[in-house]
Amino acid sequence: MTPTSAAQRTRKRARATPKAPTRRTGPQATRTRPPKAPRPAMSPRPLHDTLSTGSIYLPVTARIAETRPLTKLETVFTVELPPGLTLGHEPGQFVEVSVFGVGEAPISISSSPSRSNGTFELCVRRAGEVTTALHALHAGDRLGIRGPFGHGFPYQKFYGKDILFAPGGLGLAPLRSLINQVLDERRNFGRVMLLYGAKHPSELLFTDEVETWRQRGDMEVHVSVDRPDETWTGNVGVITTLFPKVQLQPRNTVAVSVGPPVMYRFVLIELLAKGIPEGNIWLSLERRMKCGVGKCGHCQMNDVFTCQEGPAFSYDRIKPLEEAL
């Protein structure tokens, strides 16, 4: 087996400190706009840099370039940062999205770094106050962005391995960032498999895109719904009913699952039963991160701050944490 667990943990711990030393600023230091770089030969600055030059709580004002409703509850927002800034994210990271006057909510990034061409995508379910306000916005409207925060999936460590994606429901939104990254570097990976479950056909996300994945020929795609409608011809049942459809080489497979806590319990049973090492199973945990920077305490599970070390975790890391799942 791959001796990843301990090494990965050390790596994560080590990365929990900021990459660049933060400069001490004077009491009057406030951040307004990122300094204008000279026009020619300008390389965009990662958005995260703006957090070390001013208040970590000050969002950058971004523009909604496009909105694309997917279902009754979910809409994809294409967000454009001000000139000179780029998101610079890892698949699996999240941003804090502000609607001024309503509040701020942590939203995972749905587009892959490989396709971040000045814009990025957020797939947002209308669930609370902030997301309801977001859904009332249109192309051209402004919102606030801070981040990206936390640690995503270390996909370079998955090079050479077979990848099994197992998203449930809205879990496809963050996982899509990793799936497209993997597909854009397809030759670096072995088999690529997707087992995607949703409650109802009307709740399936990115259906066109899932169809293009199916047709590529180099990705195995299986979709299931718990409750079919009259037009549904695919598999019926919870996501775990898809697992018998794939034969794995467990020691050479990385499984990445994103979904609600109740789903993890059953998916983990399947993945472990197939013999995939705990360190090769990756999950993303949802918490109500108010600050994104390890201060507000809301995302703490036992001694771990989800917003700092996660939200992507290998299972062996969170297994001993009673408050994780």
């Binding site: 009491p27 001013g54 502000s98 949802e286 009673e322």
Partner: protein, 347 residues
């Protein structure tokens, strides 16, 4: 370290002079109970006080604090770097500030806290007798000041001996009348005061503080947490009065024009049922026992592991505030004796 002497009679005039350049916050008496507040006249300051209900933390981390102002959708971060002297801080609260400094500066630096902290000079005062039946500072190792306190006053009767910890503190001290180096007699008096004081303080923990993290690890699944949960009312008083609690909620307020408003952080409490709820309604710390345990583990273990300092400074405020009479001393000792009994049975 230089030891200077400050005559007590010079203190009110010194405070009045400091007020010309600094906001001065210190303990003052209100209805027989000392509380930290802005000192408007030097004579108001009560340096000989027992523990306050709220810790001086509020001077660095206000109960409500504006993080962002927005006008027509344009966000701006306000600056609050008003020079401040935080006076009369007991050693337990000094240790709490040392921990807050780490929590808010390690990893990602929290500028709102940092700019206020940088502009604040902390003047401590030595406790000469136990301030409350619930205090257990001696057990927690917080009966002496931590490093880096700007000035620290020790009551010698007519005068204070002043430990000068930083240049900044030294410069402020020199603005008082008649400050001079401690002489031989004063140094001897100081030694006597300190050694006499030490014996007056109880040591209520039945084990050594170094055992606390492993005790909490082993006692993770103890019935004690369920028993405490039966009494706990989840009111959050313990976290409100705690000098090291620093969790917060963030909320937006918008004015009537719907054009401008503020985003503020307000103190929050892990003891409230809604603290760990996520979108969709799932609660990751649903049971009261899990919430009670989280507070004690955060204080006694998690913060030590993350920041190198114990999260409990033994001030006893949470015990005083708890109407269900849950106290850290009883909790820690209770856990210790249960586990010891279990080990003996096993042997």
């Amino acid at each position: 370290m230089t030891m200077r002497i400050l005559d007590k009679r010079s203190v009110p005039a010194w405070i009045d002079d400091l007020r010309a350049t600094h906001r001065v916050i210190g303990p003052k008496s209100a209805d027989g109970q000392a509380a930290f507040g802005e000192i408007e006249r030097g004579a108001e300051l009560t340096l000989d006080y027992t523990t306050t209900i709220l810790p001086p933390k509020k001077a660095l981390l206000p109960a409500e604090e504006i993080l962002v102002r927005f006008e027509d959708g344009r966000p701006e971060a306000p600056a609050d770097g008003a020079p401040t002297v935080l006076l009369g801080v007991h050693t337990c609260d000094q240790h709490a500030i040392a921990l807050l400094d780490r929590v808010y500066s390690l990893g990602v630096r929290d500028q709102p806290y940092a700019q206020r902290r940088q502009a604040t000079v902390v003047v401590g005062v030595e406790c000469l007798r136990p301030c409350s039946e619930h205090a257990f500072c001696k057990s927690m190792g917080t009966l002496a000041p931590p490093e880096g306190i700007d000035l620290h006053l020790i009551d010698l009767g007519e005068a204070y001996a002043v430990e000068v910890g930083t240049e900044q503190g030294g410069a402020l001290l020199e603005r008082a009348q008649g400050v001079h180096d401690a002489g031989q007699a004063e140094l001897q008096r100081l030694d006597r005061v300190i050694s006499e004081k030490w014996a007056r303080f109880p040591y209520p923990l039945d084990f050594d503080i170094s055992q606390l993290p492993s005790l909490l690890t082993t006692g993770h699944k103890s019935d004690l947490w369920d028993e405490l949960a039966e009494r706990c009312l989840s009111c959050g008083s313990c976290t409100v009065v705690c000098p090291t609690c620093s969790c917060f909620d963030v909320r937006d307020d918008i004015d009537l024009s719907l054009k401008s408003g503020v985003r503020s952080r307000v103190w929050d409490s892990c003891q409230l049922a809604s603290f760990a709820v996520v979108a969709g309604g799932h609660n990751f710390r649903k049971s009261r026992a899990a919430r009670v345990r989280h507070r004690f583990l955060r204080k006694g273990k998690y913060q030590l592991e993350a920041f190198g300092l114990v999260g409990c400074v033994g001030c006893g405020r949470c015990a005083q505030a708890c109407i269900a009479r849950i106290t850290p001393i009883d909790t820690y000792n209770g856990l210790f004796h249960r586990l010891q009994a279990r080990t003996e049975v096993a042997a």
